[in-house]
């Protein structure tokens, strides 16, 4: 009787420790997709405005801006904060578009298995020879936030893609 009780307790503890924490996030991430559209302002001048992509007209060839905002809702600092974002299907990453304050930005060309800087990434061309990867080859983007994110503090990272 005693032995069975112990076993159950151990299993329960292990589950609690390894299960990922969804929903009860300490660092909350929000992603937003926008497009730039030319509008005429009150003065009758043309200006570019960002519109949420879900509410805009989207056509092949359009440039979409993704912004990922994060906030540390906890009472202690979050360290080693890393954000990853797969380049969505039907989209091509636009060279030099990834940005993020205090972030080291890397890219993946192998579905997120490994990451490197643009200068290091290589892919095979049609003849099977290695060539330097272009933005259109990238599958994932990774931002390593180099400073701890203090309680209550926020940050944003982003990138742009072209819809195929």
């Amino acid at each position: 009787m005693k032995r069975i009780f112990y076993t159950i307790t151990v299993v329960f503890l292990m589950t609690a420790m390894t299960a990922p924490v969804y929903g009860a996030g300490k660092v909350k991430v929000t992603t937003l997709a926008e497009v730039e559209r030319e509008v005429v302002n009150d003065k009758g001048e043309k200006e570019k405005q960002r519109v949420r992509a879900a509410e805009a007209k989207i056509m092949p060839g359009d440039e979409v801006i993704f912004t990922n905002s994060f906030i540390n809702d906890e009472t202690e600092a979050a360290e080693n904060v890393v954000l990853t974002n797969a380049v969505p299907e039907h989209m091509l990453y636009i060279d030099f578009s990834a940005e993020g304050k205090d972030a080291k930005i890397d890219f993946s060309v192998d579905g997120g298995k490994s990451y490197g800087t643009p200068a290091d990434l290589k892919v095979k061309d049609e003849e099977g020879n290695l060539r330097r990867a272009k933005g259109a080859d990238y599958t994932h983007i990774r931002w390593i936030i180099e400073k701890p994110v203090m309680p209550g503090s926020k940050g944003t990272v982003g990138f742009r893609v072209q819809l195929k």
Partner: protein, 326 residues
């Protein structure tokens, strides 16, 4: 100097990344994005997914029309079933229905042809076949093209009599998207595929293109036939069998056809049989030399025979050559 070089490299990369897409993402496609954060808090490593942001691709309405003949189609006064060939391509990203119309009373040339109608290439042979190819009837068989699909359209006219050599006659085909047309960027809410918005592309959703006939009382008739003989004494087109092609060229009408050159491609999966190219009784070597023909030199992968200046009414000339099925 160094800065200049890197700026140039940057511009090259930007130009590359914004190049036009041959076929855009299909209208109605939903695209989702999610970011993930991992971080350490005290001793534990945690993972947190973002919301999922979804956008839907709208329908771009766009098309191209090209006149396949590219230059005036030679006709004779009184001809019937004279054909101008056009190709319509749906360069949008959704399935689209197109309305067609034709106008042969443009009054822009030396004469107006008499419109017979627009016809489809019903038997898909690239040539108008009267009685076989179906006429276009507005509202009944408007062509519906999926994204990137094309259709051949024949604009058929008859040619009035009493015209002289060199007279030009024009005929116009007009094509518009059944969803709508307008300025580039105009939108039709909810009228695209899968209930998306339909957005007019650079074609404006409507295009007209004129093709021309040129009266030329000289005409070249080419008739091509073939015979198959297999190595077993039969006529099965099996590997190793020989196909003998016979092309007969006849110039009719009045005048002289100048610099006449006949080119005929060697069919794929066949090999030209040495020493078989003949113009009437004369054997022509395959090299580009003093004789009238060659194989694969003047035109890659084709037989080329130069007939030169041929007077109308002169005897038909016959080109023959054999190929072996690989």
């Amino acid at each position: 100097m160094k800065a200049k070089v890197s700026l140039l490299a940057l511009l090259c990369l930007l130009a590359f990344s914004s190049e036009a897409m041959a076929l855009g993402t299909i209208a109605g496609t939903s695209i989702s994005n999610m970011a993930t954060a991992t971080y350490t808090l005290g001793a534990g490593t945690l993972t947190q997914d973002s919301n999922i942001e979804v956008l839907t691709v709208d329908e771009l309405i766009d098309m191209t029309v090209t006149w396949q003949d590219a230059s005036g189609v030679g006709v004779r006064p009184g001809d019937v079933d004279s054909v101008l060939t056009f190709s319509l391509s749906n360069t949008g990203n959704g399935s689209e229905k197109f309305n067609l119309s034709a106008n042969s009373t443009l009054g822009t040339g030396d004469f107006d042809p008499t419109l017979t109608g627009i016809f489809f290439d019903t038997n898909s042979n690239g040539i108008y076949d009267s009685g076989t190819d179906n006429p276009y009837i507005a509202g009944t068989n408007d062509p519906v093209l999926s994204a990137d699909a094309s259709v051949i359209l024949f604009l058929v006219n008859s040619i009035p009599s009493g015209l002289t050599d060199g007279d030009l006659g024009n005929s116009e085909i007009s094509i518009s998207s059944a969803t709508g047309s307008g300025a580039a960027g105009d939108a039709f809410a909810g009228l695209g595929d899968s209930g998306t918005n339909a957005i007019i592309g650079s074609s404006g959703g409507a295009l007209s293109l004129t093709g021309a006939y040129i009266v030329s009382s000289i005409a070249l008739d080419l008739v091509k036939s073939y015979l198959v003989s297999d190595q077993f004494g039969g006529s099965q087109p099996v590997s190793g069998a020989t196909i003998s092609y016979i092309i007969t060229a006849t110039v009719t009408g009045v005048g002289t056809a100048t610099d006449l050159v006949i080119t005929d491609p060697i069919p794929s999966d066949t090999t030209y049989k040495d020493g078989t190219l003949k113009l009437d009784a004369a054997v022509l070597s395959k090299a580009a030399d003093g004789d009238a023909g060659d194989v694969g030199i003047t035109t890659a992968g084709a037989v080329t025979v130069t007939l030169g200046n041929v007077a109308a009414g002169s005897a038909a000339q016959t080109i023959t050559f054999d190929v072996t099925i690989n």
